[in-house]
Every structure is written in structure tokens, then in C-alpha cells.
Symmetry: C2
Subunit: 358 residues, 2 copies
């Protein structure tokens, strides 16, 4: 118990191998060595994104690319699908960028459906939609495939998807889905430290961005593409995290994508089993529940702050006592990253013990 | 010779102690543990910045905050002082943000003087000035104190200063200078890996930013201040680099700021001595030469690409063969970070050997 093990929904626990990769010596980022590094990573990233597009490395958290997508792709009005803390905030960020924005709001815990999106888009005037695939605050997994299909019916509308806590835990095939931007941060399902975002964009998004004024430089899609074509990044990259990413991509491909998705589903089932056994409910309805984290509805009225505290003190495990306005009425357990049946078993045993002590 | 030691002007060599600090276990960034970490770092940062203002941690390279400063502080027109690759680009970035901008251009290798800035500002219509203190591409150290004094004569004009490659190598006392933004990236004189920017802002800059529209979220000064007051960051921070920063700030304060400035000056003198002995000249004029790196004018017409190559192959040292349009007609040597008389002596011996082999 040298440290508190993270079962919060990001940052999650980082493996010793990944941690060790952070320590490789620095290199110049305009060097052939850097191009070789990015060149090794690129095809692995394309495999996990399931795309033939280049995948970009942004030295920022996911919010940087979330804001960048708004600046690059919204010229008329953006429809922000709001179903929790992070998706709600994307609407505020759109406004903070000076864009016309409309919120499609559902109650926290409820999903966004394709019908809702279709209905709003049918009113016209939109040229972009934002969707958080797996809303980390509520544990809702939105029906991305159905929503992507519906957005396609509306020509000229870009679909911007945050897969921060779903990427590599459930399938998100970029090309097949036909979305315009898919982005994520490194500290969730990839189990890297925080500090970098990864994203891919469609040809249509690139062509559109090139025509959009005032999109700036730091998150300019055109700059990312121009540099990636030369296996570089527009600005100085966060080299230690890129080393760690290389290491992690090797692990992911060694495990295999399908087995990885299956592992996440199985571990999530274990957590769900515990929730039911204890008599708790889920915030999200059946069929829309995240596979990488569980947002437990505190229908039993336990003291969640005390639960979090006992878990930390007695078991050196960090769980989350609920985010924002659902703090206390929910709590969250992550099964992202490198967890196994054994480690999730340890989590469950610790939870049982801590619940007894409440 | 397990790796190529970096004498390029950033990223520079990272010490084993700093590297080891990257490997500390992750933590939640909305936790008391994170607040405690930032709480330990804040007073050390304030000491090195020489300010009573909070110092902010941005998960980005310096360009993020350079762009952010434009978005937060330019409502009328910005004067971009252009004297090399990075300062020139700041003008382009201002335009890419949709701002009115004017370039004060001098030839690469020449400094910006206070008189030049005064004359432009006297024409009126400006509400911001950007200055790269130490232009890394040309090795020019601009007269920051004099320029800051002149900008003060023009009320309502914000002075935004990039100290990327001068911070902690020469004094840049934030409060005393009275500048509005001072920013830097971690991979230069601080000798951390790249991936984070640090910055402080004046009360005037904060008050102005609060009135500026469309400044966005990711680099919003108001968000940074609101979060820092609670020892947090607006977005998920790059935790490994914050650990490394804590370790490095301890080193810097143990060395002492004045001894650190003196060390950089002495090491820079050693490099300058080598330049003169070899019969080379400096790109920057006397009195305006960087103390953290040397931009050597290739008046002898050597094959700089070959020099770089021999230095790497025979001595496992990386030096820079010139940036952008002065590639080949200049080359650059860094004495930033943790270098000592001994290691700079090794650099010089390796340079002598490599020059002989040309």
C-alpha cells in the first residue's frame, strides 16, 4: 500500500511499465528521432481508432481539442447534446468561443437519443453537433452509431465526438462511424497519465476548417494535419507522454482490441453484480450504461463521503463520491485501463468491507 | 553514451532526479492531494517569478498561453515585436485569432529597442504588445526592463512577455518589471520535459480579460485565476510534469537564484570564449546576447549539418544547425538548465574535435 490506487473515473491507475516509459531521455521534437517515434505510433493509433486518417497528438487535456473543434468547425450554430457535467460544459465553452449554440438538454443520467438529435437538426441552421459518447459524470453511454447515422442525413453538419472515457474500452471505429472529429484524453481508458489529447478528423472537417476564420493556431486542424504529414506536431509535444503512449499501444495491440473490449465488459459486469447485490441502483437506464465506469445511484442513502474516506484510509483505494450536482446522490467506480478480474475483485471486497463499516 | 545529450536550445537535458519525479503515482486532480501539491509549488514559483501573484500551470506548450494572451487581452490592436522565428510567428498567431495586429520588424539577429516600441505605441490605437524576451532562434536578449518602462507610459496597453528561454537563467522579476503576462514553457531553462507552460498575469490583465468576449475556455485567464485561488487548474493538469516541477523548484531554490543567474552567465562566457577562439562571430550584437544559448554566426562557412552530425555520431551530443531561414548560416549551443563548467567543458572539447574532423 505505497499509494492510493485509483478507481476514480480518471486519472486511473498507471502501470509500472507505462510509468517507466516516461523516463526515456528527451529528444528534439524537430528531429528524425521524433519523426521515427511518431512514425511507430501512428499506425498503432490508426488501428485503435480504426481509421486511415492520421491521428493527431495535442499537448493539452481533452478540453483543448473540445474547444478547438468548436473554433475549427462552427460557422453557423452548434447543437450541444447535454446530458451531464462534461457535455453541459461544452455548451458553455461554445458560447465562450463566441459561437451560436443551442443546448439539447436531458436530465442527468438519461441518454441522448438519435431521434432527439434528428428533431433538432431538422429545424435547420446548424453546422455542427457535439456529443460526449460516454458521459463520465453520469455513467451514460450514448448511442453513438445511431446518432452518427442521423447526423449524416443532414448534409454540412459536422459531428464532434468526445470518446474520453470510452475509447479502447468499447469499439469506436472512426471511419465506419463516419464522424468528423473523435477526441480523447490520455488519462481515462488508455491508463496513461493526463496531459495529452488524441484526435482524428474527417476529410470534410479538414476542408471546412480551412475555410473558417479566427480558428487560431494552437488547436488549428490545418496545422495539425500539415505537421502530421511530416510526422511532427504544430507545437512542442509532451514527449514523456508520447513515450508512454507508444508503450501502451504495444500493450493494447498485444492484448487485441476485441479481447480488450470483452475484458472491459466483463469487469463492468462484475461491478454491476456488486451494485445489485448491495441493493443499489444505476443512474443510467438499462441499455445506456457505460462499460468503463459505473455511476451508482445512492438509493440506499449511504454516507458516500464516508465511504470514499474509508476506502482511502483502510484500503488505499480512491473511488469517487459523485460529480457536481449529483455528488452524494451518486458515487462512481471505474473499471478502465489495466484492471483485471483479480483487481476488480479486490475493489469489490474493499467496498463490501467499507460498506459494513459505515 | 546511452543517449544523445541535448545541447540544443530546448528541450534540454533532463536530470535523473527530475526524471525520477515523473514516476510518482497519479492522483485525482480534484483531490486534496493535488491541492497540497500545488500548494507546495505555488510559493516556490512565486519566488522564482518574484511575484505575489498566483502562478498558473497550463497543460500546453508555451504557444498555448501565447495564443491565449492574445485572446484574453487584445480588443483593439496588438503590436507584435518581431525579431526572429518565434516572435515573428506571434504576429501570424494574432492574425489567426482574428485580431488587429501590427508587426514591429527588425532583421533577425537584431534586438527590439525601447525607442522602437515607444515610437509605434505613440501612434495610438494599440492595447497590447508582445515581446519575446530571449529570442531562441537568434540568441538575442531584448532589453525587457527598458521596454517595460516604455510600455507603462502608454496607459491601457498590456505587455505580454515570453520568457521561454530566459526564465531562471537571467532575472525576470515579474512585479518589479510591471509586465502584464509573463509565460514560459518547461523544457528550456527549467530543464523539465516539454508539455507544460507557466504564467503569471497582473491584476490589470485579469480585470481586462474579464471584459473581453470570445476568449474561450481552455486559456481563459479568469478561469485560471478562479481555479488557482482554490489550488486547482481549469482542466486536467499534466501531473507527471507537476511532480517534476516540484522537484526542480527545490533544486533551483537550493542553488539560489543569484548563484543560478551567475552560473548561467559564467557558462555562457565559456561558450563565447570558444566562439571567439575558433574565429566565429555572434549573430546578436554585443550587449544583446542571450545568457542561456549562443547563436553562432557561421562567418567561417563551415558545413554546419556535418558539424551537427559528427557531434551526434562521435560525441553523442545534440547541437542545433540553425533555425528556419538562418539554418546553415548560424548554429546554436545551449547552456540552459543543469549544465556546469565541467559539462560545458565537455561540449567545447567535443566541438573542437568535431571542427577538426570537418
Amino acid at each position: 500500500m505505497s499509494h492510493t490506487k485509483l478507481f476514480i473515473p480518471g486519472p486511473v491507475e498507471v502501470s509500472p511499465k507505462t510509468t517507466q516509459a516516461l523516463t526515456r531521455p528527451m529528444m528534439g521534437h524537430r528531429s528524425k528521432d521524433f519523426q521515427a517515434l511518431y512514425g511507430r505510433i501512428m499506425p498503432m493509433l490508426q488501428q485503435v481508432f480504426s481509421t486511415s486518417q492520421p491521428v493527431f497528438l495535442s499537448t493539452s487535456s481533452a478540453w483543448g481539442v473540445m474547444e478547438g473543434s468548436i473554433r475549427n468547425l462552427v460557422t453557423q450554430k452548434v447543437l450541444n447534446c447535454c446530458c451531464g457535467a462534461f457535455s453541459d460544459k461544452w455548451y458553455d465553452v461554445s458560447l465562450a468561443c463566441g459561437k451560436q449554440a443551442e443546448a439539447l438538454k436531458v436530465e442527468w443520467g438519461q441518454p441522448i437519443t438519435a431521434e432527439m438529435v434528428d428533431e433538432r437538426l431538422a429545424a435547420g441552421g446548424f453546422d455542427a453537433v457535439t456529443l460526449v459518447h460516454n458521459e463520465t459524470s453520469t455513467g451514460v453511454l450514448n448511442p453513438l452509431k445511431e446518432i452518427a447515422a442521423v447526423v449524416k442525413k443532414h448534409p454540412g453538419v459536422s459531428l464532434i465526438v468526445d470518446t474520453v472515457s470510452s475509447f479502447s474500452a468499447v469499439p469506436t471505429p472512426f471511419d465506419e462511424l463516419g464522424v468528423d472529429v473523435m477526441l480523447l484524453g490520455t488519462q481515462k481508458a488508455l491508463a496513461l497519465p493526463p496531459g495529452m489529447a488524441l484526435f482524428a478528423i474527417s476529410d470534410a472537417a479538414l476542408a471546412k476548417a480551412a475555410t473558417v476564420k479566427d480558428r487560431g493556431y494552437y488547436f488549428d486542424f490545418v496545422e495539425f494535419r500539415k505537421n502530421a504529414d511530416n510526422l511532427m506536431t504544430p507545437s512542442t509535444p509532451v514527449i514523456p507522454l508520447i513515450y508512454a503512449l507508444e508503450s501502451k499501444l504495444e500493450d493494447i495491440l498485444a492484448e487485441g482490441l476485441e479481447p480488450r473490449y470483452a475484458r472491459h465488459a466483463a469487469l463492468n459486469d462484475l461491478v454491476h453484480g456488486w451494485v445489485r447485490r448491495q441493493g443499489f441502483e444505476f443512474l443510467a437506464p438499462e441499455g445506456y450504461r457505460s462499460k468503463s465506469l459505473t455511476c451508482v445511484k445512492n438509493n440506499l442513502g449511504i454516507d458516500t463521503a464516508k465511504l470514499v474516506s474509508i476506502m482511502k484510509k483502510d484500503h488505499a483505494m480512491a473511488i469517487d463520491g459523485g460529480y457536481g450536482k449529483i455528488k452524494g446522490t451518486t458515487f462512481r467506480l471505474s473499471n478502465m485501463g489495466d484492471e483485471t478480474a483479480e483487481t476488480i475483485g479486490e475493489l469489490i471486497a474493499a467496498l463490501d468491507d467499507s460498506i459494513r463499516k459505515l
